[in-house]
Amino acid sequence: MGHLALPHKDCIKTMDSPASGPQKSGMSDRPAPNFGLPATNSWRATPGARDLVAAVGIVGLAALAAHLLRGIIPAPSLSLLFLVAVLVVSVSYGFWTGIASSLLAFLAYNFFFVEPLHTLRVAKLEDILALVVLLAAGATTGFLAGRMREEADGAKARAGMLEQLATFTAELAEERSEEAITGVIIRHVAGVDDGSAVHLSAEGESLVIRRAIPPDPVLGWPEWQAAERAFRRGSEEARTAPGWSGSAYTFVALDQGGGVIGYRPGTVPRRVEGMAEPLRRTMLQQGQVALERARFARNVEAAEAKAEREALRAALLSSLSHDLKTPLATILGGVSSLRELDAALGPAARSDLLLAVEEEAGRLSRYVANLLHMTRLKAGLDLRLDWIDAGDVAHGAVVRARHSFAGRDITFRVPAPCPLIHADPVLLEQALFNLIDNALKFSPPATAPAVSVEVEPARLRITVADAGQGIPEGELLHVFEPFFRGAHAGASGTGLGLSIARGIVQALGGSIVAESPASGGRGTAMHILLPLAARPAA
């Protein structure tokens, strides 16, 4: 019985905790919650000293009671008191303590109450029977009670495990990036039993620690070697049994060069002992699946972006060839006519040719400017935000448009005073100019597009309305896409202006909306909506 006297706690440590040695600091900052079960014995567990003392106490009480009742009730019936004591001990302290208490009760009853008294000899057959019953009852009850308790504990532990697994899966499902997913895996694998976990991945030729629970783990040479092996082979390196030299961590390689995850169990409550490892396994498997999902999503995104870039490039090339060649043809043709046919051309024809050259050069210039804006938008705009008078900026765009399209009228309406907004004046003017440019191109020459600025609660609305034939409903959603041209766009649209306008307005924190037919039942209205922020006191 010598080993039975060991303190209860020590038993657990020596039996299943390879981590018991150097892992003191990790206990303070435990990560994911574990299921917090008290560390109680399983029914077969060896009894502790306290259990035995309690058993002796209870049997002693029974003996005292029997002594006091001697003479009141017949001697054989006194054995029932001992039976009660044995039952109580078995239920409370498990199988072995129950057996021990029944032995004790057997001896005490024999010694104090069975003729001849104060000896361990038994004279009567019925006393032997009573003693045997006592022993059998203790053993049977202890066994049954222990089993029940074990099952209850096991069920509780399994429920805890399942709960932890459910939390883990839910957290995994919320994360999109591989980095975040790895973080969740690490946290939960370590959290199973307050152990440690690390994620290592390659940087150049060597592995480095990306993330660890608890932070700043101390990995020795054997651990690094094991991690390296797992990583190179894409396999698993199991930890060595406690007491042997070797890695204290198990390392599992992640797919697709995602690195390796290492873990080391913490102090496991005895009754979940067998479950912690399968739980970690399940978590790692689910983690791998989640990582694969994230990688897959990333690849799909990349493929989509690539396809979009390809489409954009194709559209850009066709736009370049068309929109650069047309004005250049006019300019070259016009100028060569003027040089070579000078004498034959009348003054009216000469002046008309010159006007054509000037107009086409202006168009070319605007087109190149738009291409530059497009590039700037793609590269990320360098905003020069300032407090600006939106009416003033809108007027600038109107003036520029009147200048570029001589002979076209544009009406302009603005409240006085116009509130200041926080925006980039040059970009906003460009966005608005593009809308006006678009309105002028797609409305009859005799009509005048209307530009207006209106103050609404918390925002400013700048509207460019035209009296053109409007945009078909199917095209309304696409007009702001780069290089999109409507079915009746004709030759003059480059498909760049509106998408640049949208890019700019979005960069300024606003939004842009196309409305067709506009209020009034015809034409198109484009609205730029910009937030009105509170201005700091000057």
Binding site: A369, R384, D386, G391, V393, A416, P417, L420, V426
Partner: protein
């Protein structure tokens, strides 16, 4: 100085030089050419021109560096040529002492108007006279009185100072920083919002249609300019 004002064109693009030389000579200016920053500085030192047209994108020296060195030796008016959407470049050049800018590509009319404004200011030496005019606005400097088409216009002292500053530099752009420093002092160079409010108020009083200002025009992202016509 001969009768014809001389203009030094500093540009490395032969086609731009060609176009400018023909147009400016046809307009009646004497034209000098330099195709690098170093050549420009030598030319200014040997035969000082009446005006310099400086392209900010030069091969050897940064246009702003040329401007800085030029300003150490001379106060000749300088008009810089810059790309359309390089506001930061424009402002930097103006703050370094350039008198005005023209954004490429430009029509010859725009450049000629800038040249005239700069040369006129140089001749009159800024605010020497007792009265200033801008369109139908006339300003009596001594009496602090402003009239529009003969009718008196009531301005606050700051509005008056602002109007005088702009009109006395008519045709030339003034940066926000220059205006704020002159009118409100160096401590207020960042208060652009304040300036915009004042410009708005001033336009309400002096423009015939404040929504479409013709006298005080905005140079987006740079500053303001009083129109020189008339």
């Amino acid at each position: 100085m001969s009768g014809r004002p001389s203009i030094l064109i500093v540009d490395d693009e032969p086609q731009i030089q060609r176009f400018l030389r023909h147009s400016l000579e046809a307009t009646g200016y004497e034209v000098l050419l330099a195709n690098s920053g170093a050549a420009a500085l030598r030319a200014v030192a040997s035969t000082p021109p009446d005006l310099v047209i400086l392209d900010l994108g030069l091969p050897d020296l940064d246009g702003k560096a040329v401007l800085g060195q030029l300003r150490q030796a001379s106060d000749v008016p300088v008009i810089v040529l810059s790309a359309r959407d390089e506001e930061a470049e424009k402002i930097a050049a103006l703050d370094l002492g350039a008198n005005d800018f023209v954004a490429k590509p430009f029509g010859i009319g725009e450049l000629l108007a800038r040249i005239r404004a700069c040369l006129r200011l140089r001749r009159t030496g800024g605010t020497g006279s007792e009265a200033l005019h801008l369109g139908e606005i006339s300003i009596d400097l001594a009496a602090h009185r402003v009239e529009r088409g003969g009718a008196p216009v009531r301005l606050t002292p700051k509005e008056f100072d602002l109007l005088v500053l702009l009109v006395s530099h008519a045709g030339r752009v003034l940066t926000h920083r220059q205006i704020l420093t002159k009118i409100w002092g160096p401590a207020h160079v960042e208060d652009v919002a304040y300036l915009r409010v004042f410009i708005g108020q001033l336009r309400q009083k002096v423009e015939s249609n404040p929504a479409e200002p013709r006298l005080i025009v905005t140079e987006p992202g740079v500053g303001y300019r009083a129109k020189a016509e008339g």
